[in-house]
């Protein structure tokens, strides 16, 4: 009884195993080439199909090998093992230096990337430059913007805050009107969110000095400014330290329990696909400033596409990655998919800037996004092991955040953890 089903199953298994690991080793562009592309952008197949139409000899296999850290783990270990790694991989800006320094992604200057500098926004270009080399083509960016619920603020006669002081005043008003509501949340598990806030506040905590030396200082003046405000907000219970992207949090975003979300320009896509009921209720505004009249912003998220060093078709891979992130048709397709562009072409395009966005009740939101993108503060860097550093954020800074106490202590603990790890890995670590 059982052998009847067993034999076909075994045969199927053997057949599938044989088909699953084909690798192309051709190098000329005349012969058909298959590239493997690891990405977690949903629906990117549409964009890739445009490429197939243009270059029928090249097949790009899209594989979703996990998001962010999940993908990076597999990428690192497969490159180390020498097998199983893709040709092109989506790598967020914060993780790129790690791969660049480990020589796991290719320096795209060898493929003429330097000539593309003018095509990309300044902050996007800065984020793919590591130690003088270019290691990824900027795919999208996340200039920070304040998204607020128009209906919630209007019902309480609150003007969207333009400074952090106004933000705190608004927080007081909202919480006083209903103790169950808050102006916003702060996620104790989101290193990227706090990184962006530190960035805007002028902190420059992470530095990759050389391939063997790194520096971390989470107690600089910018960090101090940030933690002073948030210590206040947390201890007075003016913000809710709720983990994001959970059932609870989305319900809160839907019901208006949370009035504001300060995030990258990619956020509207998530809101409209998850809680479409709130379409039309949101507005975009520049993020609050530390000094009235300033215009300083930061990036929150964003990825590049890099060529992996174990690829057997580096030239073809580089060509594909370049096309994906600079060809106008591709850029438009990605933008339709919810990604905020990194190219100057789209950022300067008048029709793009003028288009009214139904999600924002007809507001010309792209203007605000583009403006934020143009004012991203310079000089920000990441560690050569930022993936690890971000993974222990919740163990350290996340503690006081969720406890409602001063985050400065958490920043100190985070710094210590980072220094310990760096030393263990053979880096020279400084903390000035």
């Amino acid at each position: 009884m059982s052998t009847k089903r067993l034999i076909p199953a075994v045969l199927l298994a053997v057949a599938l195993a044989a088909c699953g690991s084909s690798k192309s080793t051709t190098t000329t562009t005349d012969e058909p080439v298959t590239l493997t592309f690891w990405t977690w952008v949903p629906n990117i197949q549409k964009t890739v199909d445009l490429y197939h139409q243009k270059f029928p000899k090249i097949t790009v296999k899209v594989v979703n090998a996990g998001q962010s850290a999940d993908e990076y783990t597999k990428l690192q270990t497969s490159v180390k093992a020498g097998s199983g790694a893709p040709d092109v991989a989506q790598i967020e800006y914060f993780a790129l230096p790690q791969f660049a320094l480990a020589k796991q992604v290719v320096n795209l200057n060898d493929y003429g990337a330097a000539s593309l500098e003018s095509k990309y926004g300044k902050s996007a270009w800065a984020q793919v430059n590591v130690n003088g080399g270019v290691y990824g083509y900027p795919q999208d960016t996340g200039p920070m913007v304040m998204f607020y619920r128009q209906d919630v603020l209007a019902s309480l006669n609150i003007q969207p805050p333009t400074t952090w002081q106004e933000f705190e005043a608004a927080a007081v008003k909202i919480h006083a009107a209903n103790p169950k509501n808050y102006i916003s949340t702060i996620d104790p598990g989101d290193a990227g969110g706090v990184d962006s806030m530190l960035w805007q506040a002028g902190s420059r905590p992470f530095k990759t000095v050389s391939p063997t030396e790194a520096s971390v200082n989470l107690g600089d003046s910018g960090a101090g400014t940030w933690s002073a405000l948030w210590s206040d907000l947390l201890s007075k219970k003016l913000v809710d330290p709720a983990p994001g992207w959970t059932n609870d949090w989305w319900q809160g975003m839907d019901s208006g329990k949370y009035a504001v979300w300060i995030a990258g320009a990619w956020a509207p896509g998530s809101i409209s696909s998850t809680i479409p009921d709130t379409n039309g209720k949101w507005r975009a505004a520049p993020m609050p400033q530390w000094k009235a009249g300033d215009n300083v912003t930061a990036e929150n998220g964003g990825s590049s596409d890099a060529v992996v060093t174990t690829s057997k078709n580096k030239a073809a891979a580089a060509a594909f990655a370049q096309w994906l992130n600079s060809d106008p048709a591709a850029a438009k397709s990605l933008n339709d998919n919810g990604l905020f562009p990194a190219t100057t072409a789209l950022l300067n395009d008048q029709s793009f800037l003028d288009s009214p966005n139904a999600f924002f009740g007809g507001q010309q939101a792209n203007k605000i996004f583009a403006d934020s993108s143009a004012h991203v503060a310079t000089g920000w860097q990441y560690l050569p092991f930022q993936v690890y550093a971000n993974s222990v954020f919740k163990d350290t800074v996340g503690q006081p955040i969720s406890n409602g106490t001063d985050p400065a202590a958490g920043l100190k603990a985070w710094q210590q953890r980072i220094v310990d790890y760096g030393k263990q890995q053979g880096f020279q670590m400084t903390t000035n």
């Binding site: 195993a17 097998s83 839907d254 919810g338």
Partner: protein
């Protein structure tokens, strides 16, 4: 045996049943909701619409029907992995119980010791080892570890020692039957209930296998259902940053989870008879 019905006892059992079923009730009800309903209605009651069929459709057609692929993978791993494990354990248990060979005691102790090794402790080294050999991201990486069941071996040894009398084997030998022939004609039949027990335990273990496949597989084409659902779950919680989600994964994760549970429950309902007798025999003899 006199059986006086006790209402109190029944009431206690009903409470326990409610405890057991409550989360599943949420799952069932949530499967009828679309994304806006999920986040705007009470969890244990229905939303404004009935979207179960839409959700099922989304689950089954997303990304070219990858969910069905995951389902087939799970079947493959479970049947081949668990089936293989049960057969190998049966053969091995039979050997330990009915034959006296050199090193038998040592091997037996080693295997018993192996039961205490945390499976998760082996996962990372297994990954690295398989990575070197080049079989990561293939079904072999999941199947090979599934075939080794020290617990199955232990159960089968105990069962074989008890269920197959030496005299029967002697009689067969006197009649001139070879050892292998004897196994297939005499012993196998007697081992059947124990075999089915081991098979069923192994089946559930491989069906729910999560940690090892999570580590060794990177191409979603080879994921079992558990890893696939966790994958969609992490996409739903799109961590801050790029790849803005314009697809709502939440209803798919929930409905996909519901669909993943149904076959196993049905299988257990249908196969009740077998594992109850096997369990009875297998677990009592220690």
């Amino acid at each position: 045996m006199r059986r006086r019905r006790s209402n109190a006892l029944t009431a206690v059992m009903v409470l326990m049943l409610i405890y057991t079923m409550l989360p599943l009730a949420w799952l069932l009800i949530s499967s009828t909701k679309n994304s806006s309903d999920l986040f705007s209605s009470f969890g244990l009651w229905f939303g404004h619409g009935f979207h179960l069929f839409d959700n099922v459709h989304a689950v089954v057609t997303y990304d070219g029907g990858i969910y069905l692929r995951w389902f087939v993978n799970t079947l493959l791993y479970a049947v081949v992995g668990a089936g293989g494990a049960a057969i190998i354990a049966a053969l091995g248990g039979y050997a330990l119980a009915k034959y006296d060979f050199r090193g038998r005691r040592l091997l037996s102790a080693l295997v018993l010791g192996a039961i205490t090794i945390p499976g998760t402790a082996l996962a990372v080294p297994t990954y690295l080892l398989f990575s070197r050999v080049g079989i990561v991201n293939t079904p072999w990486a999941v199947l090979i570890p599934a075939l080794a069941s020290p617990f199955g071996l232990y159960l089968m040894r105990v069962y074989a020692a008890d269920a197959i009398p030496d005299e029967l084997l002697e009689a067969a030998r006197i009649d001139g039957a070879g050892e292998i022939r004897t196994f297939f004609t005499v012993s196998l039949r007697l081992l059947a209930p124990g075999f089915v027990t081991v098979l069923l335990f192994a089946l559930v273990a491989t069906w729910n296998n999560y940690f090892l496949p999570l580590i060794v597989l990177s191409d979603p084409d080879w994921f079992p259902l558990t890893v696939g659902l966790a994958h969609w779950n992490s996409l739903a919680s799109g961590a801050a940053g790029s790849g803005a989600t314009t697809v709502s994964f939440y209803p798919m994760v929930i409905t996909g989870s519901l669909l993943a549970i149904v076959p196993l429950v049905v299988a257990f309902l249908l196969l009740q008879r077998f594992w109850q007798s096997g369990l009875a025999a297998g677990s009592v003899k220690q």
